[in-house]
């Protein structure tokens, strides 16, 4: 679905990073850029809700030439800009790809809520970021990003002792919700965990280049189980079913 006029392997991998405000999306991007800039040509598109602060912060970190970091304003519609009208973001991505021979474009969503995910029309693969400081029950609550993003990052594990969260339990909840899709507990201060993140990114870049990566939509809402009715999707009963 991403730009059907191009073969998948001839342009950069477009990697979306979304998740609630403050979970560490920009930090994750800076970690990826700082660690992989020597082996991959990288560009970044940010979608700040009210400022260009994320773009400025990433530029100021010096992990990329500043021209490779562009901000998209979303008119208070961060959800729309990554899902139902991706035009502004696609133009920014294509401009970066045209200006620099890139291997990887990171698209950071405006920090929104647990329901926001990227359209496969914009990104080839996506990471959903939650953090232990947001509460141990977040993974259990689920949502399309937590359940079906290509990778779920449970961030800031170094803070777990300070916020009374059991990381193993949180990751077990997430793994159960994700039906086998990968979960990565991450602290940017732990080189071994960062290495796992980088390996996942490298794997996605390689898979995309080989033409074997198939973008998947996390979907607006998952089919799920109610004891009284059995499995269903909310598409079946959009008006009659309340949660």
């Amino acid at each position: 679905m991403p730009d059907p006029t191009r073969a998948p392997s001839t342009r950069a991998l477009r990697l979306g990073i979304c998740g609630p405000v403050g979970t560490g999306k920009s930090s994750l991007i800076m970690t990826i850029c700082a660690s992989l800039a020597a082996e991959l040509e990288i560009g970044v598109v940010t979608n700040d809700i009210y400022t260009d602060e994320d773009a400025r912060m990433i530029r100021a970190a010096g992990v990329l030439p500043s021209a490779r970091v562009v901000a998209v304003e979303t008119g208070a519609c961060p959800h729309t800009a990554i899902r139902d009208d991706v035009t502004a973001n696609l133009m920014a991505v294509e401009d970066l790809e045209a200006a620099f021979a890139l291997d990887l474009v990171l698209v950071e969503s405006g920090g929104d809520n647990l329901t926001a995910t990227f359209s496969p029309a914009l990104v080839d693969t996506q990471i959903f970021v939650i953090d232990v400081a947001g509460g141990g029950d977040v993974a259990r609550k689920g949502g399309p990003g937590i359940e079906r993003a290509d990778l779920l990052v449970v961030n800031k594990t170094d803070l777990a002792p300070h916020v009374g969260v059991a990381v193993e339990e949180m990751c077990a909840d997430a793994t159960a919700a994700r039906e086998g899709r990968p979960v990565l507990a991450l602290s940017r201060h732990d080189p071994d965990l960062v290495a796992l993140l980088l390996d996942w990114v490298r794997g996605q870049v390689a898979s995309h280049a080989a033409g074997t990566l198939v973008p998947a939509d996390p979907g607006p809402m998952a089919p799920h189980f109610h004891a009284e009715t059995g499995w269903h999707s909310h598409d079946d009963h959009p008006l009659t079913h309340q949660h």
Binding site: E73, T74, G75
Partner: protein, 210 residues
Amino acid sequence: MHPVALLLSDARLPVAGHTQSGGLEPALAAGLDDVPGYLALRLATVTRTEAATAVVTLAHLQRGEGIDAVYDAWAARTPSAAMRETSRELGRALWRLASRLWPLPPLPAWMPRPVVLGAVAVACDLPAEDLVRVIGYDDLQTVASAALKLRPLDPAVATGWVVAALPLLDQLASSVTGLARPEEIPATGAPWIEQLAETHAATSRRLFRA
């Protein structure tokens, strides 16, 4: 009204319209409290220039003429670089969509939105008057819907502003629909709006692109 006019004036058209406030964000920040007056001001000035540019583009393309002179006339009558940039960005987004849907006449890259709309009108046999109404109506709704984000109020109030301004679309249509030559495009600038557009483009805190 031509059905494609309905499509083009629908905010659900995926052309990044949600990034725009029609200059309302900086206007409110500068102290504007008369939004209906602002709507009328835009229709009489900057939006009139855009609408005229679109119908002259349509006329040029119908005659098989190039649009360089139209572009130059539009640029000369749009003194704010920020507003020219915004219009080109919107034109690019529309071109991206429309060129997938219709066989558009070839245009140079980065044409402003009214020129691209003129090209769409040629491809779809959209009458000039409909084209003008699309541009005027879209401008009204862009401002009114942005107002609901920037200064939340009863949506019926904002829609009431649009309804009250609809007769102004007739005036706009009667004043520019028949234009056919670049030199006829009115130079109806609004220095206050243009200055605010420049200020807004330089700020680091904004919800809307423009």
